[in-house]
Symmetry: C2
């Protein structure tokens, strides 16, 4: 797959991870307008702090994106900050841009200072390998415990011009999606102002990445960056509806891939909560169910154990009607008006055995709703996370 | 082990579970003063609703406790309520007491109506087998996924008399302790008024069972019942300090056993959070760490991966000082003033390889504190919960 016009990318081994590519570079030779959404975790990794202020200083312009896997450079104090700054300096030097046009992102183990020397020494190599077809190499270089790369694309019309959009993401660690470091880099060749991009990315993230995690519950490094090179040549005051739809689709596709690739996951639960007194109630209930290890292990086993789902709702703090709450799986009603419904166990089991398990929980007390995606919890999750650092 | 004077117990097979004892009976021929703490889950199982109102109606008197494993009888509507009432009726008939002197508790799968016929038919057998030494049989009959029975005892002086206290509990499902059904039955031969018992049980539960779970986060069936037969013959206005201490000790011992016996657990994390702005902040931080699957899997692997601990604190919502937060494991300082400390990896690994892993997190911004016990998350947890109903 080729990148949208105005972008080049590469992915190489810098030696941070053992025998795996671990350094990704995106380069926009003529620069790109940019906007980003960052983690709300109070421990913000050094690259997050630096990128946030760089975007502000440059007025929303980015020329280079340097991403490393294997080390999150979070909770590393001044030492970590200095290491990240040295990477930024070196990238600006090699790519001949201003330091505030360099955007940094890191993912990996927390509490270890970035091995910046390895990265600095590798940047010229990453620069040499930049290519319009470099998205694949880049998508591999940013992974940690992910099983495979995550790339999504779409195309759209804007102000009479054709434009493309390509997104690359990494995720995993999906039992509490909020705790996985989630990185996404989305590029389009449309011309869009930084302010419009900022509104667009917020909207897209709310219905994609924030529906697998929950507002404000994020890791130390989570970052979603959207860049627009303007190479499509449209007027920047063109109607953005088609762009927004394409951006939403790419982000939703990436979010799905992240959940599906949750560590050891074999199924994705698509939970819709409706009938809530408020959106907060809907989210409380959705979050309690989606993060419940008992629900997630039952999902892994393909077991329609709805008692665990309702027990999670009961302790969630969400307001609901004991006499009106209902739950359906696919087209099977499991619970109706607060009591078990009549259904054949094997019909319910068939729904829970699918790759996508669609659940609909009606709280029976209002009109607010929420949607959340969640993966199952299996043995591979335990294996991956028990030995993560070794 | 013998029960305190005034109590008899038995445990038998009623056929609810396959080839396992599943019906426990406690009998106080002369009755006992009683007080209880129940789940705060909005889905309250039928036996919880009935026992709560029975205790009120009898003025805190109990003669019989009927406990079954294999079926929680929760979210079962009127049908479940009727089934529980029939069990109560039959117990009152066989044990020759009032219905409001019968205390019910159930644990097992949610959403299945109690097979009350099996229980009713088995009550005469349970009655026949009642014995002062029946605590062992009883302790086995109330288990679900627990590895083994949980019994603790202590003795104390009250008003110049010697008295004993014996507690029996069941737990498991410990990844979110709050989601496991936790039952505990504590008996003493001291004479204590129902009102004093109620204060005492609240105090004891706060520092034991509520420190493995978190306030208000409970399953559909959680119940702690304390009964006092008065057979020791003390004045009921005697000083209760020694009793309270003994009760606290028994409850703490049972709470420890429950965590240690968490499904597949091999380690217990004893996390103390201090330096918090408020108790709420301390509890928020403690809860986020204790329930984090990433922390729990690292604990399983004996990996001193403190980055995951701090990341959990960062997203917990607790207020803390980024520049003053510190973390120690045993006597090893891992994080000091918000930055990694100097320590040898193998020293830290040694602490995390123990059966009891003592962690102390100082939030650096106040004087409030909280303690929580949590188990690790290993493969056996997944195995147990994936196949729970099969």
């Amino acid at each position: 797959m080729k990148l949208p016009r105005g972008f080049l990318a590469s992915g190489i081994r810098a030696g941070i991870r053992k025998k795996r590519p671990d350094l990704g570079l995106i380069y926009a030779p003529n620069g790109a307008n940019a906007a980003a959404v960052f983690t709300q975790n109070r421990f913000q990794a050094a690259p997050v702090t630096l990128s946030k202020s760089a975007l502000k200083k440059s007025g929303g312009r980015v020329k280079a994106v340097v991403v490393n896997a294997g080390c999150a450079n979070a909770v590393t104090g001044q030492e970590g900050m200095d290491a990240a700054k040295r990477v930024r300096e070196r990238a600006a030097e090699v790519l001949k841009c201003r330091q505030d046009e360099v955007f940094l992102a890191s993912t990996g183990v927390i509490g270890v200072v970035l091995p910046d020397k390895k990265i600095r020494e590798s940047i010229p190599d990453a620069f040499t390998r930049l290519a319009a077809g470099g998205v694949e190499a880049f998508s591999h270089a940013i992974l940690t415990t992910d099983i495979g790369p995550k790339v999504a694309q779409s195309s759209f019309a804007i102000g009479g011009k054709r434009a493309r959009i390509v997104g690359v993401a990494k995720g995993a660690g999906m039992i509490h999606p909020n705790m996985a470091t989630m990185l996404a880099f989305v590029m389009t060749d449309a011309a869009i102002t930084p302010a419009a991009l900022q509104r667009a990315v917020k909207d897209a993230v709310d219905q994609s990445f924030n529906s697998i995690s929950v507002d404000g519950d994020t890791s130390t490094n989570d970052t979603v960056l959207v860049m627009a090179s303007g190479a499509a040549g449209n007027d920047s005051d063109a109607d953005l509806t088609a762009f927004q739809n394409a951006l939403n689709k790419v982000c939703r596709d990436l979010a799905w891939m992240i959940v599906r690739d949750g560590e050891g996951a074999i199924r994705v639960m698509e939970l819709e909560v409706s009938g809530a007194r408020s959106e907060k109630d809907a989210r409380l209930a959705a979050h309690a169910v989606a993060t419940s290890p008992l629900v997630k292990t039952a999902l892994h086993g393909g077991d329609p154990n709805w008692g665990r789902i309702l027990a999670a709702v009961g302790r969630s703090g969400a307001r609901f009607s004991l006499k009106k709450i209902s739950l359906t799986a696919g087209n099977i009603t499991l619970v109706k008006n607060g009591a078990p419904a009549q259904y054949r166990e094997k019909d319910a089991a068939r729904v829970f055995a699918r790759e996508r398990v669609a659940l609909h929980l009606n709280l029976g007390s209002g009109t607010a709703s929420a949607v959340i995606l969640s993966s199952d919890l299996g043995h591979d999750y335990v294996s991956v996370n028990t030995d993560y650092r070794s």
